[in-house]
């Protein structure tokens, strides 16, 4: 009985969500003189800050491009759909963007599992999609219309391993990952490979399923192996919960995470338990580069808070798209995808972006440390040559 109920609830919830998901409601066709682009993201749900930050970043980029006269003289308009952090919703959102709203390109998602769901739809309709911040390699392997402007998890896992070995001087590491998330599983795998290659030892690998709230069984096992550092490659809600229970069990080792930790809610949930932990990210608002300083001040004026990495990537993805639209002879899927693929040394807030033949971007990463409730810049790690 009950499993059926859960399924029905989800199904009905989905319908309810769809009804209220539209930005302005209804599918108004783009007025002449404007061009519509789509964004799908988790505006609500447990990864809500991901979608909201990305959307803020995209909107800032649109405001700027419109203030400068638009793209080829046409004003850009954004249509955002909420996928509530659910894969089935992501597919529906992209279908609506393409078939109802006739967008020329799609921006999204943050979570790799959701980009995979939405990307398949975009590829099927031949509409280019740029994921601002999905780091799992599979995302751009969907097809020739799917791009990204962030680094990949094999690199991120390598960065974390290098940081753990060289800066934290860790010899042993334990891993606690979410087996239901492509992102978390992938990152755990890449970290393990890099860390063992650099001479470290993985003491134990433990998994949980998204939605689990009690990690005591896994953490008790981890505590027994006494690792120097614990990798928790999940999203911020789980990371906060894990941190609370780690400290409660009396484990002192620092936690290490990835860009999925990047949210103001990490400190709100983890509070004192998350202090002193590290995570790798796409940029830090404390970096002393002119692009960063310029972006941070503009974003703070527009949205009243410090931009996180996802806001910066949303901004970069949108600006890169406008740049490609400016160069493309027409805005049909094939021509636009070709223009995006030809992007070279695009000056983004998160670093110079060159789209490689696999439709990925090769960039540096930063590592930040949680101190006093904010992520403090520690170091930048360049990709290996």
């Amino acid at each position: 009985m009950k499993p059926t109920r859960a399924f029905i609830s989800l199904l009905l919830l989905g319908m309810v969500g769809c009804g209220g998901g539209g930005d302005k409601g209804g599918a108004a066709p783009a007025a002449s003189g404007t061009v519509l682009i789509g964004h799908y993201g988790s505006m609500t749900g447990s990864e809500a800050t991901f979608g909201q930050s990305t959307d803020n970043g995209i909107r800032l980029a649109i405001k700027e491009v419109n203030a400068a006269g638009g793209v080829k003289g046409r004003m850009v308009e954004l249509k955002t759909y909420d996928d509530q952090g659910k894969s089935q919703e992501a597919g529906t959102a992209v279908t609506r963007l393409i078939t109802d709203d006739k967008v020329v390109a799609v921006l999204g998602e943050v979570a790799s599992s959701l980009s995979l769901a939405g990307g398949r739809v975009a590829q099927q309709y031949g509409v280019p999609m740029i994921s601002p911040s999905s780091t799992n390699p599979q995302v751009t392997q969907i097809g020739d219309k799917i791009f990204r402007v962030c680094f990949l998890d094999p690199f991120q896992g390598w960065v974390e391993a290098k940081f753990a070995r060289e800066t934290l001087k860790a010899n042993t590491a334990a891993i606690l990952y979410d087996q239901g998330q492509a992102y978390s599983k992938g990152l755990a795998q890449y970290f393990k490979e890099a860390f063992t290659q650099m001479g470290g030892t993985i003491t134990t690998e433990q998994a949980f399923t998204g939605g689990d709230q009690d990690f005591s069984a896994q953490l008790t096992t981890i505590r027994q192996t006494n690792p120097d550092v614990i990798l928790v490659p999940g999203y911020y809600t789980e990371a906060g919960n894990v941190a609370i229970q780690v400290r409660k069990l009396g484990i002192k080792a620092p936690l290490l995470g990835g860009d999925g930790w990047d949210s103001t809610q990490l400190a709100a949930i983890g509070k004192e338990a998350i202090e002193g932990s590290y995570f790798s990210n796409h940029y830090s608002f404390q970096e002393k580069r002119p692009e960063v300083e310029n972006f941070v001040s503009k974003y703070e004026t527009a949205h009243g808070q410090k931009p996180d990495g996802l806001a910066a990537l949303g901004y970069d993805a949108a600006r890169l798209l406008f740049d490609a639209m400016g160069r493309a002879p027409s805005w049909d899927g094939t021509a636009l995808a070709k223009a995006i693929a030809e992007t070279k040394d695009f000056p983004g807030v998160t670093g110079k972006i060159t789209i490689d033949p696999e439709r990925n971007a090769k960039k540096s990463a930063v590592v930040v440390k949680m101190e006093g409730g904010i992520p403090v810049y520690v170091t930048t790690i360049e990709p290996p040559q």
Binding site: K2, L13, T209, Q213, Q218
Partner: protein, 308 residues
């Protein structure tokens, strides 16, 4: 040994929560013979009302620990709120359907569940962000047994849950009201002929079940202070497991629900600790299948009178 004791302790702590939620499922089933699908959402409401009260009363600042009575006050207030919500749900959603086919009530219950989940996500209720429950009990380590630290939060939590269950046990088996509840559960028509106010008893059952769920929500928020937003999968899974506990114990049977709660928590946590943590949900649902195959009425299910 340390691992065994640690797991046992966690199992009792989690089990007491499952048991508290399972009681609400089982009591409503006992009186009305339908599964109140909105029950787990009342549990979520309990957790979030506790959070809201703690923040409103100004206990959100980390480091400060309010006196013990403040925690008790919030617990009672959350139980009262959810009791009132439970009463309202029964009065507005289920009572008009008392004579309708049971499927109608079932579908209404799903509707109420969705309503609670989605209203809870609104900006002016709890919002869509996860939040940190302020700590109301100073997290001291009371003592260490064979390398396992006994945390004040866990001991007080499990103690409160067990105390509540004892009160319920007394209420149902030692008071007039409890006798009326048992009579209604046994045969509604005859009970009403005997002069029992059936509507009042059913309302009371909902209030009781909902306030126990609220207590479970409060204790849950104490133990796992990172609260997920009201429609999160975490809550669905928890409600599901509590429901399984009620079925395993014998749905309609109050002692069975308590037994089932502890049983599945222990199986889940020992399985996770000694076999594989990846399959923890599978242990729970396999036990459900086995119990349904071997004893379809549940472990203590035979003591419930058959009703056609």
């Amino acid at each position: 040994m340390t691992k065994f004791l640690q797991t046992l302790m966690d199992g009792v702590a989690v089990g007491s929560l499952y048991a508290l939620i399972a009681l609400g499922y089982t009591m409503v089933y006992g009186t009305l013979q339908f599964i109140n699908f909105a029950h787990s959402d009342v549990f979520v409401l309990g957790a979030w009302v506790s959070y809201t009260l703690a923040v409103v009363l100004g206990y959100a600042a980390s480091g400060s620990h309010p006196p013990l009575w403040a925690g008790l006050l919030i617990l009672v207030a959350a139980m009262a709120t959810c009791g009132a919500v439970g009463f309202t749900i029964e009065r507005l959603a289920y009572r008009p359907l008392r004579q309708a086919p049971r499927l109608n009530v079932l579908i209404t219950a799903i509707g109420v569940s969705l309503l609670l989940q989605n209203v809870g996500q609104l900006k002016w209720f709890f919002g869509t962000q996860p939040q940190r429950m302020p700590s109301l009990i100073e997290d001291r380590v009371l003592g260490t047994v064979a390398g396992v630290s006994m945390h004040a939060v866990d001991v007080i939590g499990a103690g409160t849950a067990i105390a509540l269950m004892l009160v319920l046990e007394w209420l149902i088996f030692r008071t007039r009201l409890g006798r009326a509840m048992r009579a209604v559960s046994h045969d509604t028509a005859v009970a009403s002929l005997m002069g029992i106010n059936v509507d009042a008893v059913i309302s009371f059952t909902f209030v009781l079940g909902s306030s126990l769920a609220a207590a479970a929500g409060f204790l849950y928020a104490m133990k796992y202070p990172g609260l997920n937003q009201p429609a999160h999968a975490t809550w669905v899974l928890l409600g599901l497991k509590a429901f399984v506990a009620a079925v395993i114990g014998g749905i309609g049977n109050v002692r069975g629900a308590m037994l089932g709660g502890f049983l599945i928590a222990l199986i889940e946590l020992f399985g996770a600790a000694y076999l594989s943590p990846h399959l923890r949900d599978i242990y729970v649902f396999s036990i459900l299948i086995i119990v349904l195959l071997v004893r379809p009425a549940g472990i203590l299910g035979t003591s419930v009178a058959e009703k056609v």
